[in-house]
């Protein structure tokens, strides 16, 4: 059992409240999983700038002087410290050089997510504590996903928390357990993917990243997942402009969606959705088994 939530805004006037809305939804799901919590927020990208969200178990040591350390490769680099996490912004052209230098000089720092717009925060602990230590409520954005974990397939650690990000501006949250993840991980490693954990959900994220790298869009990659992933899953997936949902054919893992003119929302339970504006008049439905749902800001009219 885990709790997952997602929110894809259609109404721009709600964007400043994305973090607050998503935090409330996630905190409501606390009793579905107390082990760890995480949230991915897609903010407005700024032209020519890239973002890197990193984490350290010893932030006082690892993040000390980090901005000065990175300046030589990109004078425009900025670092915002948030508890155990830091968000590094750099010129897109220098982003990989910044990342290389960081890996070399601060080898214990872990990358949570990278891209033009996504910021990912996750830690061991309850959703209310995780969202408050990172100040998630104050964050705006276009869409976001969150997860509260009851661990089954790998250890309760920061890296084992969701969302898993395996590609630029991509992330995935999972309720369920996969049974063919070891085999699939070996195949993906052969294709050049790297893994941080022994977690099954990370394999699902990497699978989608690999499929999208071959030219598929999110919807096509999720359709492929129905054939190639074995086990129980309800996935909610974010990309730079898109938001997708898919459930396995057995569909044991709960899922409720709601749509109004202002948003598309996902919750493991209806409880997660009850505070959203206009929920009384929303179209509320359960996503069908083995059916791919996805929405894209860029493809929307």
């Amino acid at each position: 059992m885990c709790g997952i939530v997602g929110l894809f805004l259609k109404d721009k006037s709600l964007e400043p409240q994305l973090g607050a809305m998503l935090s409330d939804m996630l905190v409501t799901m606390t009793d579905r999983g107390p082990d760890s919590a995480g949230i991915a927020i897609y903010g407005a990208p700024s032209a020519g700038r890239a973002k890197l969200t990193v984490q350290s178990a010893k932030p006082a040591i690892d993040f000390a002087g980090i901005e000065a350390l990175l300046k030589p490769v990109d004078a425009s680099v900025t670092v915002e410290l948030k508890s155990t996490h830091a968000v590094i912004e750099a010129n897109s052209a220098q982003a990989s050089a910044v990342r290389e230098l960081l890996a070399q000089e601060r080898p214990d720092v872990r990358v949570m997510g990278s891209g033009d717009s996504v910021e990912i925060y996750k830690e061991v602990g309850l959703p209310k504590d995780v969202v408050s230590r990172f100040g998630i409520r104050a964050m705006g954005g276009t869409h976001g996903i969150g997860h509260t974990r009851m661990a089954t397939e790998s250890a309760v650690t920061t890296l084992g928390a969701h969302p898993f990000s395996t590609g630029a501006d991509q992330c995935l949250v999972h309720n369920g357990s996969l049974s063919n993840h070891n085999n699939l991980r070996r195949e993906l490693v052969r294709e050049g993917m790297t893994f941080e954990t022994q977690n099954d959900s990370e394999v699902a994220a990497a699978y989608l990243t690999a499929e999208m790298a071959k030219g598929k869009d999110l919807g096509q990659a999720l359709t492929g997942a129905l054939d190639d992933l074995d086990g129980f899953f309800t996935f909610v997936v974010g990309t730079k402009s898109g938001f997708g949902v898919v459930r396995d054919p057995i569909a044991c893992k709960p899922a409720v969606m709601a749509e109004t003119d202002q948003y598309i929302a996902f919750g493991s339970e209806y409880r997660a959705l009850v505070n959203l504006p206009g929920i009384e008049d929303a179209r509320v439905w359960e996503p069908e088994p083995a059916t791919v749902y996805f929405w894209d800001h860029e493809k929307a009219a």
Binding site: I250, A251, C252, P254, V256, E269, R271, V284, W285, P289
Partner: protein, 240 residues
């Protein structure tokens, strides 16, 4: 004094606002009904997807729930009448013994699971595994039902005015299934059976009990067990 109190309670409907009161207050009140009391009408507002609303009723009370509920609403109901003016989460009316549960909206997975008696009416759609392992309950769904419904159903009746999903009635025992629309696929050992006059009569009674007036029994098809899985067959040994 007692007389006037009694008169008042005849009319009184007790309201539980779950936005301000704990669920325990509601369920405790439902579990401490004195036999023979007239104080049997309850109203629940702001359920907001709460779990276990009105579970374990064992007296002929009436509960009107205004809004949508979460897991296991009206579970183990024995004699109560529970109406949800909204949708219900997983396991609504699971293991019902007797009484009536009506969902005005949709029901999530395993509605009426393992029910031993009583009537469950879903006015919208029911998701997967509706009536799984049913053991005497009657379920009437106005809309469609999802996959693996009536799996291992032992007795009772499942009536579906709309369509049924994949693997209807898989490994069915003696539950009787009536579907008006399309069946995506039948599960192992579930077959279509002839609708005889006695079945039409039975179905007419179920529809009437569920307040369905605009649909005729003749519009349904009947499904039941082929009874080929009841006993071990040595020819199937390779399959295990």
């Amino acid at each position: 004094m007692n007389v006037s109190l009694k008169r008042e309670s005849l009319e009184a409907m007790r309201t539980f606002d779950l936005a301000t009161m704990p669920l325990r207050d509601l369920n405790s009140a439902l579990h401490t009904i004195a036999p023979g009391t007239n104080d049997t009408s309850f109203e629940v507002v702001n359920p907001r997807g709460s779990h276990s609303v009105a579970v374990g009723i064992d007296q002929p009370v009436t509960v009107e729930v205004h809004g949508s509920v979460g897991y296991y609403c009206a579970g183990m109901n024995d004699g109560g009448t529970v109406t949800v003016h909204g949708s219900a989460g997983p396991g609504v009316a699971e293991n019902m013994m007797s009484g009536t549960v009506v969902i005005e909206g949709d029901a999530s997975q395993y509605a009426g699971a393992t029910g031993r008696g009583g009537l469950l009416v879903v006015k919208g759609n029911a998701a997967s595994r509706c009536g799984i392992s049913m053991k005497g309950i009657d379920i009437v769904v106005h809309g469609n039902i999802g996959h693996m419904s009536a799996f291992m159903g032992q007795s009772g009746h499942l009536v579906v005015l709309g369509d049924a999903g994949e693997a209807l009635g898989d490994s069915l025992y003696e539950a009787k299934l009536f579907v008006r629309g399309a069946v995506k696929s039948l599960g192992a050992d579930c077959i279509q059976k002839e609708m005889k006059p006695k079945h039409l009569k039975l179905l007419a009674g179920l529809l009437e009990k569920a307040g369905v007036t605009d649909v005729k029994p003749e519009e349904f098809k009947r499904y039941g067990s082929a009874r080929t899985l009841y006993n071990f067959n040595i020819d199937n040994a390779d399959a295990y």
